[in-house]
Symmetry: C2
Subunit: 411 residues, 2 copies
């Protein structure tokens, strides 16, 4: 949480964090500055333990800057345009402005730099900053970054925000089941009063639900059938008509409009009767979810849950990424990730053996095992979001049916 | 255009461009890889003049990777997880993987690094890359970057895409005029059959139009009235009821869903009669647009149009940012910017005297002067998008009425 930033800086021996906001949204800047951050498109935030944060901003954005409650100064007051004229390039000018601001705020010693933008230009900006502000040192962040760690435990208002998004996801799946269940099979293909029911049609239905709930889908979504469902990040083909018996992987990850909180949930559905093989895969993936959720604690390293899911899948004859990172079928990804202001945050439930992430009290994270056999038109993933309550108990935030089969209408 | 990348690399003496794709969208990666890029969330693209581009991607995203037409290899085939295990941190592992890929592709000499992501971590990645791949050198880009320059001239299909978005913007303004014109004044406030007409209501109407046109608003929009209209980046207050005689600045900048092309247009409206002062400001800003658009050539440095607008405004008694970068009222921003896969691209019509941008044949850019007096509840901005045709002539792409006053309904 935000209140932890100061102690984390002190603990790591850092004198400040330099948080940069350019046109590319910076979720950590949003975390620190609040919702007003959405309307700030250029800023330098200097965060020092025990001091009021200092924000350098543009005159054009002075209302949003004032809403942050930070100590403020304007680019103009620092003579930024004059610096630009003198230095001739933005890289040199930005480095000199950063050096000037850090100097005026008397920042010395190791600092953390955290911003989102073009990494090539910023590499040269930071090299020059190091040269022009020799009193500071650009520290290397730990694998679990300082802000990753601060953002690991969500506050009650953050959890409420995520719960709202979860509710809209529930509506989206209900609508999908309604459309699938309202169609009739002609041969093996699904049709209703609007015509053939396609992947594109389902995507539009989801979009409508999210529009009404004031959610956006900046990363899109996945609605993929059959062979495509067997490639985890294949988003599906809008032209495909829904076909009896094929798995449809539906992975939704909308966010509150204006840069708020994400949810992330997956269900695998099938119109009509599923084959024995598909049912078995679905049951096994469901078992992996249940076993994981039932065994959660804040004590175990988060990557161990991935190990246990690999154990289960391997015992049942499936290949896993743990055995061979080059596999194309079987279980080929990690078990889960934190969610919040980004769709992928910490903790990671998987990763290399150096991953020391733990689920913290207050963490919100996904559990999403899957099994993929594109060569047999099969793919199954189930993804729930779990909340680690501050008291150490766990709550599954995903109130959406798991049921695989959706019966179409009968004549 | 994409076909210019090779010659630009050769011209600048660069042996390759290393284009990185992480979870933060990279518009240049989209430019090079095409629409399939939207579904690739982690990739390394090595672009060498005269050679087939090489893409390192994840197995999960092999379908999208294949759609790019590039030469492919998977992270797994490079042993990325093994590297992660050995190196212990993502920064070290990423640097080693980059060094390995560049080595295998026999890249030597100065290269350009271009990616969007967290700049602090990537600073350390690139420092380590320099150490581990001593045969390469990380070149500093010019002010007008290599990809800025390649993207400066749009191809016909890019212009068509922007034209489609322009059409939807026209519909959004028509809908706003319809709503404002359909309301009746009660005292000075506007009301219709749905209740008081608020800024939030107008924003919802815009959102509906864009939803139907499959557009998104990743950076939101500005619908700001009175004093708020006087702060260029104040997005406006949803709760405000539309009030007779106050200027409403409406700045829309939607993009095609899934990471396509932007449009960007501003009109200033007023319900009922505008004051003489507001009318005068509006006429002057309009004059600045007309004079600029009428004088455009691809010969003049783009910053000179800003100088001419400053001349005009200063002659009429307004302060400008050219005179004093600390001013809060008057003309306090630049004249315009390119649009395309980003809302702000090159050329810049403004900036420091070192800005050597020129409008190129094929450029798409905004012309958007404004005058701001928040202390008098006044703000006016007008923004059009102009296309520099390949033959050297110019086309205003913005077919949206400029008219300031909207008459409310009468009893």
């Amino acid at each position: 949480m935000k209140r932890d930033v100061d102690s984390l800086l002190l603990e790591r021996g850092l004198s400040a964090a330099l948080v940069l906001r350019g046109e590319t949204p910076n979720p950590t800047f949003r975390f620190l500055a609040g919702p007003a951050a959405a309307h700030i498109t250029a800023a330098i935030l200097v965060w020092r333990p025990g001091k009021r944060p200092h924000l350098v901003h543009a005159a054009m954005e002075r209302d949003s800057a004032a809403a942050t409650g930070f100590e403020l100064s304007e680019y103009g007051a620092h003579g930024y345009r004059k610096i630009l004229e003198e230095e001739g390039t933005r890289e040199r000018a930005n480095a000199r402005l950063l050096a000037k601001v850090l100097g005026e705020l008397n920042v010395k010693g190791p600092i953390l730099v955290h911003g989102y933008g073009e990494v090539g230009r910023n590499y040269h900006v930071l090299n020059r900053l190091r040269e022009w502000a020799p009193q500071i040192e650009i520290a290397e962040d730990e694998d679990l970054g300082l802000f990753d760690r601060a953002r690991l435990s969500k506050g009650p208002e953050e959890v409420d925000a995520v719960r709202t998004v979860a509710g809209a996801c529930g509506q989206a799946y209900a609508r999908i089941r309604q459309v699938l269940g309202g169609g009739r099979l002609e041969g093996k293909k699904l049709k209703d009063s609007e015509g053939w029911v396609t992947i594109g049609r389902l995507r539009r239905e989801v979009k409508k639900v999210f529009f009404d709930a004031d959610l956006e889908e900046p990363h899109g979504n996945i609605i993929a059938m059959g062979r495509d469902a067997g490639i985890p990040h294949n988003v599906g083909n809008d032209a495909d008509v829904i076909e009896e018996g094929l798995p449809i992987v539906i992975d939704l990850y909308p966010v509150q409009a204006g840069g708020g909180y994400f949810f992330d949930v997956t269900r695998t559905l099938c119109v009509g009767r599923a084959s024995a093989e598909l049912k078995e895969l679905h049951a096994l993936v469901r078992e992996a979810v249940d076993r994981t959720v039932d065994s959660l604690t804040t004590e175990t390293p988060a990557r161990m849950y991935q190990e246990k899911v690999c154990d289960l899948f391997e015992q049942r004859g499936h290949k896993t990424i743990r055995q061979d990172e080059r596999i194309q079928e079987g279980y080929i990804h990690g078990l889960g990730h934190g969610i919040g202001l980004e769709v992928h945050e910490r903790p990671h439930l998987g990763g290399p053996s150096q991953n020391r992430d733990r689920i913290a009290p207050g963490s919100l994270f996904t559990v999403e095992p899957g099994l993929y056999y594109p060569s047999r038109q099969l793919g199954v993933r189930i993804e729930d979001v779990v909340f680690a309550r501050p008291d150490g108990s766990f709550q599954n935030m995903t109130d959406i049916p798991y049921e695989l089969e959706v019966a179409p209408a009968t004549a």
